[in-house]
């Protein structure tokens, strides 16, 4: 029995166990938790291949799991007609004065980094800003920007495929677009409070 077989054996046992849990579970919200467990074992099955390709396949696998979780939990809230908790914003002085400068620093640093990780850093800045300051939602605007950035990113991919000699343009395009996309997507999380949609 080589390493791959041993790993496969253990993982499949884990898959079976997690499915037994799913079989026995009756409560809707607990099912979501178990589903997360099951998905993780699926990722381990990919990891077992242990090449660069496996590394590249894990990211899509992870993203599929996260996005389905996001959608299902929202569907659950809708299905159960759960009210959205309302709370008063905390009144701390530093939360009114600090956000601009912190956000500015984080966004600038994110732009220097560029790309996916840059987007994440800049996005955290904006999340912070919106959480502290923003009581008005700007979903439409952020969504539009995010959508266009996503489309540009896909365009860059097609440039790589069809016109490889223009790769520099594609690199710049995709780097910039993903920066904007990730930033706006994360910023949207900051605006997810029952404020006014402007």
């Amino acid at each position: 029995m080589d390493f791959y077989q041993a790993g496969l054996f253990c993982t499949l046992v884990c898959v079976a166990i997690s499915f037994v849990a799913l079989l026995r579970e009756r409560d809707d919200i607990h099912k979501i938790l178990i589903v997360d467990l099951v998905e993780t074992t699926g990722l381990v099955l990919i990891c077992l291949v242990a090449t660069d390709l496996a590394e590249a396949l894990i990211l899509p696998g992870l993203v599929v799991g996260i996005s389905e979780l996001l959608m299902l939990t929202e569907l659950y809230i809708r299905k159960e007609n759960l009210p959205i908790p309302s709370f008063k914003p905390i009144k701390i002085e530093v939360m009114r004065t600090a956000p601009p400068i912190i956000t500015f620093v984080l966004v600038v640093y994110g732009i220097i980094l560029s790309g996916f990780s840059g987007g994440a850093v800049a996005g955290i800045g904006l999340v912070f800003y919106f959480l502290c300051k923003g009581y008005e939602e700007r979903f439409e605007l952020l969504e539009t920007i995010s959508g266009y950035a996503w489309a540009l990113w896909i365009v860059a991919f097609f440039i790589f495929m069809i016109l490889p000699q223009a790769w520099l343009i594609a690199v710049m395009l995709s780097g910039g677009a993903i920066l904007i996309k990730v930033t706006t997507k994360m910023a949207l999380i900051g605006t997810m409070r029952e404020g006014r949609n402007v």
Binding site: D2, F3, Y4, Q5, L8, F9, L12, V13, V15, A16, F19, V20, L22, L23, E25, K31, V49, A50, T51, D52, L53, E55, A56, L57, L59, P60, V63, V64, I66, S67, L70, M71, T73, E74, L75, I77, R78, I112, L113, S114, G115, F116, S117, G118, F139, E143, W150, W153, I154, F157, F160, M161, P164, W167, A170, V171, S174, G175, I178, M192
Partner: protein, 155 residues
């Protein structure tokens, strides 16, 4: 006897027609198939000649991000159809100016001391397995669209 079979069948079909049991039905099928899979493990052996096999150059200053080759040139990746993507590696080895500076001046790039993000596109195979990337982001996009649509419904 026949009456019992008929009664059992009725219970079965009633149980199957309740959608709360759907997850349980699928889980039961999943367990059966996984057990079949476990029994077949001895027949599966690892294929040594993999594409995109993993080679790590520990001495490189770019260590975890090093895909071979000088940035902006061809990288040696064992791809499935090398002739379809002769430019593989143009992107995969791209670093942001700051990471490039770190990598050239210090040996610590990518270690825990300087945990600095890699390049514009961390996904190593953007060029050769790009369609995966497109689908993956589409999935995220769709799920986000559904979640935000549900979140913002006012009725």
């Amino acid at each position: 006897m026949i009456r019992h079979i008929g009664k059992g069948f009725r219970i079965f079909s009633n149980w199957m027609s309740t959608y709360e049991n759907l997850v349980a039905v699928y889980a039961a099928l999943g367990i059966v198939v996984t057990i079949c899979g476990i029994l077949m493990v001895p027949m599966l052996s690892y294929h040594e000649d993999q594409i995109y096999s993993k080679t790590m150059n520990r001495t490189s200053t770019l260590d975890p991000y090093d895909r071979g080759g000088v940035p902006f040139t061809m990288a040696e990746i064992k791809a499935q159809y090398p002739d379809n993507s002769p430019t593989a590696g143009y992107v995969t080895t791209y670093l942001t100016p700051f990471s490039w500076f770190l990598a050239n001046t210090t040996p610590y790039f990518g270690t825990t001391i300087v945990a600095h993000p890699g390049g514009i596109i961390d996904e190593i195979l953007y060029n050769t397995r790009g369609l995966d990337t497109v689908v993956e982001t589409s999935i995220l996009f769709t799920a986000f669209a559904i979640a935000s649509f549900l979140f913002r419904r006012k009725d």
